[in-house]
Amino acid sequence: MAKRGYSDNEPRIPKGWVLANVEQWPINTMHGPGPSPANWRFETYGDVKKPLSLTYDEFVNLPSITKKLDHHCIDGWSYLGHEWTGVDMDTIIQMTEPTDEVKFIHTEGERGYSSTFPVGQELLLAYKRFGKVLPRAGGYPVRLVAPGEFGYKSVKWVERVKFISDWEYDFWDEKLIAWGLPPIDPKLNPWNVDNAERKAGLRQLFIHLTEDHRREKIALYRKKLEASQ
């Protein structure tokens, strides 16, 4: 896959996108961060010869890289020039030794969030941004950074990486299917969004997402009400 999302890459942002010029790092999350895990470990499993299970200290002592990458949100804005420090997925691949049949990487975060990628796509398991340890809301202990993809692919609060031979639906694929919408075609150029069909699809997605959010809010209210009675 061609590298995207670098400062020397043209075009630097998807067509129709705007630059978010803000002091604060805008943070989107599906669920919001839970409390920091007490005994976090980074694990690999699936079709691998050497499954890994590393503590935070062991993880941050692995060979690291620092890169400047741009962030693009599916909602139509980009935020340029994040400096990330972390462990290249290639380092993890060398350590865990996937079998020859492995073609995909399924990255899993807290609360069931996940993203699937083809082996060979550039992925960074980041633990610092601009030299500072990630805030909890920003993905502490470790978050994925997938340059050139939209932000929803960059799993926060990574716990496990599964190496698989067949494509596996990830969090958003499962959600779209549950809503009666088609899963995301992995061969589709993610930046090809400046057309009516993709915009209509996104609008449908947001309608379902808002409805889910509304339902969760009302369910929480009813639960509190019942507890108080």
Binding site: V22, R214, K217, I218
Partner: protein, 124 residues
């Protein structure tokens, strides 16, 4: 707030001040009442980008718009229409704010709602 024939009394018309939105909670749903040019509007203050509570967002009497305090999406409070997405992005993909039905009965603002369905939305 009391229930009366499937309607909820929120407040009196005279309680509302131009340019000062007021938030209520009905069956777990947030309802924002706004007075604009003497006319009252009721919307759900939930940003259709990520669910942020926009009741404390910037309300412009001049344009009749409410801006999300988190990522600055802008909505027309009269229709719920998204005018701008987050950070000024094209609002094409954003769903509208939910607009609520209500009636004014002897100067009292009555929202249509019931235990089963919650607040009844007025789709535009």
């Amino acid at each position: 707030m009391s229930e009366l024939e499937g309607r909820f009394f929120l407040c009196k018309v005279s309680d509302l001040v131009e340019g000062e939105p007021r938030k209520f909670v009905v069956h777990g749903s947030d309802v924002l009442l706004l007075k604009l040019d003497g006319k009252i509007h009721a919307v759900e203050p939930m940003c259709s980008h990520d669910g942020t509570d926009i009741s404390r967002g910037k309300f412009s009497q001049h344009s009749g718009t409410l801006e999300c305090p988190k990522h600055y999406a802008v909505f027309d409070v009269r229709s719920g229409t998204p005018l701008r997405g987050p950070f000024g992005a094209d609002g094409d993909t954003q769903p509208p704010l939910r607009v609520y039905r209500f009636k004014i009965d002897s100067g009292r603002i009555m929202l249509e709602a019931n235990q089963e369905w919650g607040v009844i939305p007025q789709y535009t």
